[in-house]
């Protein structure tokens, strides 16, 4: 399910290239092979025929009828109206589309919506509590000015929350390494590290 950024076997050895290879090979191919195998067994189905998809997003059930090729990112943005998750490359290079699937950070642009069924999906819109109180990571990003244009920010924050929960925020070096799948062209990186250091303590208390 999905593409975990925490699949690195070598501690501290995750870079964006090995990450890309791992995700592309590890996750996409089996799905395609499976689909092809199913096609071979029965009469060729119209690959464009819409499919019913049930997703649970930010605690709400959504019933959708989608082109099977629709990514989780495009589903969120174009079919559910949740535009907080951003499209920065649509090929798993920038991290702006990062969401949590069952608590694991996932690139929603490399995840088909059909693959996310039966899971709990959390987007940036679902991070603050319903009374409007910000998640400690959101507040820390404000306090440390951990963004400028703000476009990569939803992905950075979702990734940062997962980074802390994975136990990969112990040292500055760890934070830098495990946050390197989220590009920030404005280059707020030192402030992002500072924000995660602040939020990890508050997340521990909570």
């Amino acid at each position: 399910m999905g593409f975990s950024m925490s699949q690195s076997e070598k501690p501290g050895g995750l870079n964006r290239r090995s990450f890309l290879t791992a995700t592309a090979m590890g996750a996409t191919l089996p799905v395609i092979q499976q689909a092809r195998a199913q096609q071979a067994e029965s009469a060729p189905a119209d690959p464009r025929a819409p499919v019913d998809v049930k997703l649970r997003i930010n605690g709400r059930d959504q019933s959708l009828r989608l082109d099977a090729r629709t990514t989780l990112l495009d589903t969120l943005r174009e079919h559910v109206g949740l535009t907080g998750s951003k499209k920065g490359c649509d090929q798993g290079q920038c991290g702006a589309c990062t969401v949590l699937v069952d608590g694991t950070r996932v690139l929603s642009c490399l995840t088909l919506a059909v693959m996310a069924q039966g899971s709990e999906i959390t987007t940036i819109e679902g991070l603050a509590s319903s009374d409007g109180a910000l998640h400690p990571m959101q507040q820390a990003f404000i306090d440390h000015d951990a963004f400028q244009c703000g476009y990569c920010t939803p992905g950075q924050i979702m990734s940062a929350v997962a980074c802390v929960n994975e136990g990969h925020a112990g040292t500055n070096d760890d934070i830098r390494e495990y946050m390197s799948g989220n590009l920030c062209r404005c280059a707020a990186y030192p402030n992002i590290v500072a924000a995660i250091n602040q939020a990890k303590n508050e997340m521990r208390k909570a």
Binding site: R16, R17, L20, R48, D67, R69, D74, R77, G81, T83, G84, S85, K86, K87, G88, C89, D90, Q91, Q93, C94, A96, T123, I124, E125, A128, L134, Q138, Q139, F141, I142, D143, H144, D145, A146, F147, Q148, C149, G150, Y151, C152, T153, P154, I157, D173, I175, R176, E177, M179, S180, L183, C184, R185, C186, A187, A188, Y189, P190, N191, V193, A194
Partner: protein, 763 residues
């Protein structure tokens, strides 16, 4: 206070958090492609597979078989789009190459756009479109046959109106007599802005009115250029761009996609949404072209410069003469003695380059500051002292600086860095298997100004609203404009609402040339002054006025009250009540000295006017000094940059937080310029090879360690009414030279071609 929000020093404002912070951390901020339109159709671009030649066939059959395809736009059915004038000086079109064929003039030229009911169907149909070409051999870059080189003299650029190259004295004579000389060639690579937000456009028609949702650095420019392109009245076009997901110059002008999407939306009768792919972004917008430099410096034995000669070469497209002409800036930087400059453009089969963060100074200052370091080595002189020796309040042309704090920047940064512990001998400083190198260089950026309008209103409740069509591209414009209004009207910053990035608002300049705060701020000051005049006039007169008889000049607006010098005051609400008004609204237009009298009219027509830099009576520039440490692995030769310190002086600082982020991000851009970024070009086919953000290396978090920013207090009341010099494009200048100079110090190897790569250090 934290590192991100430094304690304000003299002439610096409070580090209030960003106005748009909550929207940005909650995902509520609506960037262009987030805007919801009713029943959109989706567009997908097809770009050319060759750089030069002609389209010979278009087979639409496969594409048309895809269900949901609404239309396919090619050169065959779009020839009624108007060719729009290339915006040489900003505004207007980013390129003359606007048609979808049949002639192909660069790699990745838009040749078709498919519109379908879903994104998935549009994408599939686009891949099924078969386009045949006859291919001619393209000229890719400097080394290619078939390029055409021209003297760039007379080519107008945004900030330079010079008709002759800057020169003074006899450079050849001075060089021949100089005790020490440097004669070196440098080069900088092709770079792409790569904002994380893709190039998107959504167009929606209601009758003959068009709304464009597109990330823009110049909404009035876009509005007027699209109007020309699709032949409608500008008044019928509304551009909405409240948030921009990074731009760095790439969203300053109208690129060919926008008119096409507007055209398609009209044709298919429903809104059309385009989100171009990352690789398409490399060719459908602009970029920083590769440059070459021949620099000669001469000095006496004590390091006093006697000659500076700099010839630059810049790549541009076939039809357009884009040129940054950085010698127009570098020639003023020090007291050089004799100066000779020249810039050439080289036309190749490439897309037209354009503004990218600090266009003139990034390549040219790299070359100059590298040559200065080479001179310091030859003189056996400390590079800081070499700059001190040639620092002065007058340049070689006799022009004075409005303010110049360069050596203060050097001294503060050097001390923080520990520069005095540097052993100047190359390769002398080591830490285990790492060779340690320390280098420094100057950062400089011209202080521009431009025309801007603004509307400000103040309500009896103490709430204020400020509206200007300037753009917050991550700079902090929302925040500092709100702060200015708050301090001018004496209300809390939380009570100021700021509206930007929309053509329904009073016109503001392009978010370019680091001009926004100077221009918009000056217009805001003017509008606020008009409000104050009306309020204070009312406060000092009328029945029952507590401040009756107090001269207007002795009344201030403070903390929601009109306050006299003697301490008497009247609450804002009471004052409004006495005036019989709920709110006061004022519109103001600011036109800077030196701008044409019709600058405001031109601004509303989408044409920018820039003044400042070296064009006025005095030299107006932001300055800084940057120090970096590099570590070069003795065996693998990998290069790391563990720390960098920059000290910057840019006049008044309105917000130390947003300023710190601008400068920090800028220095990281500079490190990236030195060590990472290069768009690789297939020299045979004139195509970009690494057109994605995994292979085009922009820094990731793990590439960056300690970046220390020092804000140097500076007061300059001559630059503009606000007293700000502009700093969005300051800190990424000079960094590449500082890194290359540090690499020399670590290894003894002088890198004259950026970026610094391992293979160049495997000597």
């Amino acid at each position: 206070m934290s590192a991100a929000a430094p304690e304000p020093k003299a002439n610096m404002g409070q580090p209030v958090p960003r106005y748009d912070a909550r929207e940005k951390v909650t995902g509520v901020a609506r960037y262009a492609s987030d805007q919801q339109v009713s029943q959109p159709a989706f567009a997908f671009l097809v770009t050319s597979a060759i750089a030069r030649g002609d389209i010979t066939s278009i087979d639409e059959r496969g594409a048309r078989e895809v269900p949901g395809v609404l239309d396919i736009f090619t050169h065959r059915n779009t020839d009624d789009l108007t060719q729009t004038k290339y915006g040489q000086q900003g505004g207007g079109a980013s390129t003359s190459i606007q048609g979808l064929g049949p002639e192909i003039r660069h790699d990745g030229q838009i040749v078709a756009m498919v519109v379908a009911d879903t994104f998935e169907n549009a994408r599939e149909a686009a891949y099924r479109l078969k386009i045949g070409y006859s291919e001619a051999t393209p000229s890719a870059s400097f080394e290619s046959a078939g390029t055409e080189m021209k003297d760039a003299n007379g080519i107008m650029s945004v900030a330079t109106q010079a008709k002759e190259w800057l020169s003074t004295g006899d450079v050849e004579d001075a060089l021949s007599k100089a005790a020490v000389t440097v004669d070196a060639e440098y080069s900088t690579p092709t770079q792409h802005h790569n904002p994380i937000e893709l190039f998107t456009t959504t167009c929606s028609w209601q009758g003959d009115k068009l709304t464009i949702y597109e990330p823009s650095q110049f909404v009035f420019g876009l509005k007027n250029a699209v109007a020309e392109r699709i032949d409608v009245a500008p008044d019928n076009i509304h551009v909405v761009s409240p948030y921009v997901g990074g731009a760095f110059g790439s969203k300053a002008q109208m690129t060919p996609r926008t008119g096409l999407v507007a055209y398609a939306a009209r044709k298919v009768g429903r809104p059309v949404k385009l989100v171009a792919t990352r690789d398409q972004g490399y060719t459908i917008s602009t970029y920083r072209a590769e440059t070459r430099h021949h620099v000669r410096l001469g000095s006496d034995r004590d390091g006093r410069l006697v000659a500076y000669s700099h010839e630059g070469f810049e790549i541009t497209s076939r039809p357009d003469s884009y040129s940054v002409k950085g010698t127009e800036e570098t020639a003023h930087l020090y007291s050089f003695g004799a100066v000779a400059t020249k810039v050439n453009v080289v036309h190749a089969d490439r897309n037209t380059p354009g503004f990218m963060r600090s266009p003139p100074v990034v390549p040219y200052v790299y070359a100059l500051e590298s040559a200065l370091d080479e001179l310091a080595v030859k003189l056996r002189m400390d590079p800081v002292e070499l700059r001190r020796k040639n620092d002065g309040m007058k340049d070689s042309f006799g022009k004075e600086w409005s303010s110049r704090s360069l050596m203060t920047c050097y001294d503060q940064a050097a001390e923080a860095f520990g520069w005095s512990k540097r052993n100047p001998e190359p390769g002398s400083m080591r830490d285990g298997e790492w060779l340690v190198g320390w280098g420094c260089a100057t950062a400089v950026y011209p202080t521009h100004n431009a025309a801007s309008a603004a509307r400000v209103s103040l309500r009896s409740t103490g709430e204020a609203l400020v509206q200007i069509a300037v753009h917050d591209i991550g700079t902090g414009a929302y925040t500092v404009i709100g702060q200015l209004v708050a301090s001018e009207l004496g209300v809390p910053v939380e009570k100021v609402r700021v509206e930007l990035g929309d053509t329904l608002l009073p016109a503001g300049p392009v978010a370019g040339g680091s001009v926004t705060t100077a221009a918009a701020g000056s217009a805001v000051l003017k509008a606020c002054a008009q409000i104050r005049t009306r309020l204070i006039g009312g406060a000092s007169s009328g029945d029952g006025a507590p401040l009756a008889g107090v001269p207007d000049g002795q009344i201030r607006l403070r903390e929601g009250r009109a306050v006299a010098q003697d301490g008497r005051s009247e609450e804002l609400a009471k004052l409004f009540e006495r005036l019989g008004q709920n709110q006061i609204e004022e519109y103001a237009e600011f036109v800077p000295a030196g701008a044409s009298s019709n600058a405001m009219e031109r601004l509303y027509q989408g044409k920018p006017t820039f003044v400042g830099g070296s064009n006025g009576e005095k030299l107006m520039y932001s300055l800084g000094a940057e120090f970096v440490e590099v570590r070069v692995n003795q065996r693998t030769r990998e290069v790391r940059c563990p720390r960098a310190i920059g000290a910057f002086a840019a006049g008044r600082i309105l917000n130390t937080r947003t300023t710190h982020s601008q400068l920090m991000g800028g220095m990281i851009w500079g490190i990236a310029s030195a060590l990472h970024e290069k768009t690789e070009l297939d020299e045979k086919r004139a195509r970009y090879v690494n057109d994605n953000i995994a292979e085009y290396l922009i820094p990731v978090n793990a590439d960056i360690r300690d970046i220390d920013i020092i804000l140097v207090p500076e007061i300059d009341n001559e630059v503009n009414p606000v007293g700000v010099k502009g700093l969005g494009e300051l800190a990424n200048v000079g960094t590449a030279a500082a890194v290359a100079n540090a690499v020399y110090h670590a290894t003894g190897i002088r890198i004259r071609d950026l970026p610094v790569r391992i293979e160049a250090l495997l000597a």
